[in-house]
Subunit: 357 residues, 2 copies
């Protein structure tokens, strides 16, 4: 039974820019992301607005955004037209938030052709613009959203107070409306039991720590999201710099922890990496969590030079492709958890085998 | 640092007949073995004899045995000339017993050129003759020892009583002096929790159940040794038949358990087999016990046709080659446990990689 066609499949099977594995420190910092929250002046926030108002917001914001060069060739997906699977796939690709997936008429997302850029309309705010790059390059991500924002501001009348800055539905976003985050892989800090201390230090410098898929997600595969907690009282660049500084600090701690690990248990670490590769290349049943944990070991092995392949691009692609909605889109078939575990193993095997030597 | 040369190395690195993986049901019954215990009349048993007597026994039995065609090209190893490692390697190859390894002057073992045949002198009895074949072929193993025994009887004056039969140091061997055994692989009976019942039934029909390396050895890798408990009150052929019958019964139970396993958890079984192969082909540190357990899964996979390679011969060879003394002989180097775990992983990997697809 084929799946209903809602356009997400084609997008989901194309490589996304942020998964390329290129960019500074991309072996450990999977991606850097900057998003801006904006709202139209004198119009209720999406949660408080009726369908008519929300549709008006959509028909104001969408054409304004599409005038921008960055959105040339972009695809728009209206929430009401998307299947649950399509929505889930956009969340898995980090092109839409789980919150957007729950919204109805007037809500949707515009996704740039390289899938490094997305603009959600009528999510928590009228506009949520995000740019995401492979590796640690928050400044570049900020440069992109800032340029788009400048052009949008010329067309749209945004809610802004001289005292507070940009107004947003949630007070934590008031001010710059900016959130900068990075997805960072910290296996050695976990293995050497330094992670709690390292994350506590992050909180002390104003960062929020979350798992791979946002606030409610568990920390799986040693992947952590670090972002600024507040967006008020600092300039955009100050926020970017504070997140980047915190990220670099974590990165350095992780590098030191890896050195310790290799000094004190080099052979065991190598063993762990190769076994993970061996299992990924041979398993016939593989659940998401195990995939994340095994691929964490492989990623660390690549980063440490213990193995040379598969490349980061392959690992990053699998990170998304092995998730439930992507698996079903890839196979063009609705599948229960058990079938997915079998198909996941098959897909991973295809990409991993041949790398085991 | 090279190891002292005592001739065992050359033997240990040659394939042994019983490891070939050929013969009836060799995928599940690794080997069938028949041994006879004999003693020279009017001479104290080895434990009670002094060095001089023991040396006389040696110089009587050894030339008598070497006259036999089956021992053409055989190698003789005197216990007092063997290094501890050499002794251990002969035990690992199942050419000598742990008891022989502890004996001094006058004790030794004559090993046939194909390593299917061995004759221990001054172990528990003056003569312990064993024949061992790959697969379930106790009759053939008996035929060989019986022929050799007939020729030996013509030369040697053996302790024999009309009432009791052949006299031996331990009462359990009195009578025929025959013990027939098989090494059988029962993973599905273990996995389906039927093993205790199956082994209890063996005991009820007069069998003894042990692990891979005799009485005191733990049951590792789902490998069990089944043998007759007493050698009195039945003819040789009756004993052989009773052990063979018991073994066939176990074999059938194992086959049924595998069918159940495949029906109820076929995918998981396949997964287990492939993962075992994946880990064996990639691990960098591997201890004996883990090797036995992983190779158990691979062996079952071969038997079930879930995988086609590596062959049984490779698995059987590794069963011996991965053991402590063999590893050290193979590398021609004394090694501590940790070094062995690393070298074991390397040797297994060399033989397994390329089979993972």
């Amino acid at each position: 039974m084929s799946l209903p066609i809602d356009g997400v499949r084609e997008l989901a099977l194309r490589p996304a820019g942020w998964l390329s594995g290129r960019g500074p420190h991309a072996d450990t910092v999977l991606s850097g992301r900057v998003r801006l929250a904006r709202n139209l002046a004198r119009i209720p926030f999406p949660q408080a607005a009726g369908d008519q108002v929300r549709n008006e917001v959509l028909s104001t914001v969408k054409p304004a955004a599409m005038e921008n060069d960055y959105f040339r060739g972009a695809a728009f997906f209206a929430c009401q037209d998307l299947s649950p699977l399509g929505k889930q796939a956009l969340v898995e690709r980090r092109m839409a938030s789980p919150d957007l997936a729950g919204m109805g008429p007037g809500s949707g997302v515009l996704i740039g052709s390289e899938q490094s850029l997305s603009l959600m309309i009528n999510e928590e705010d009228h506009v949520r613009l995000q740019s995401m790059f492979s590796g640690l390059d928050l400044l570049e991500a900020f440069r992109v959203v800032d340029q788009i924002d400048d052009q949008l501001q010329e067309i749209l009348d945004c809610a802004y107070s001289e005292e507070w800055g940009f107004l947003t539905a949630c007070p934590t976003n008031v001010g710059t409306g900016l959130r900068a985050s990075m997805l960072i892989h910290l296996p050695a800090l976990v293995l050497t039991r330094q992670i709690d201390e390292a994350l506590k230090a992050m909180v002390q410098v104003g960062m929020t720590v979350r798992g791979l898929y946002g606030e409610s997600s568990e920390v799986a595969g040693h992947l952590f999201q670090i972002s600024n907690r507040t967006s008020l009282g600092s300039t955009e660049l100050e926020i970017i710099e504070s997140v980047e500084r915190a990220g670099r600090h974590l990165l350095e701690s992780e590098v030191r922890a890896r050195e310790t690990l290799m000094e004190q248990a080099g052979r065991e670490t190598e063993d762990k990496v190769w076994r993970a590769l061996g299992i990924l290349g041979s398993a016939r049943v593989l659940n998401s969590e195990e995939f994340l944990n095994l691929s964490s070991a492989v990623r660390m092995g690549l980063s440490l030079g213990l193995i040379q392949s598969p490349g980061l691009g392959v690992l990053n692609e699998l990170l998304v492709l092995t998730q439930p909605a992507h698996l079903q889109l890839y196979c063009d078939q609705a599948m229960e958890a058990r079938e997915r575990d079998i198909k996941r193993a098959e897909i991973v095997r295809e990409r991993i085998k041949g790398w085991i030597t």
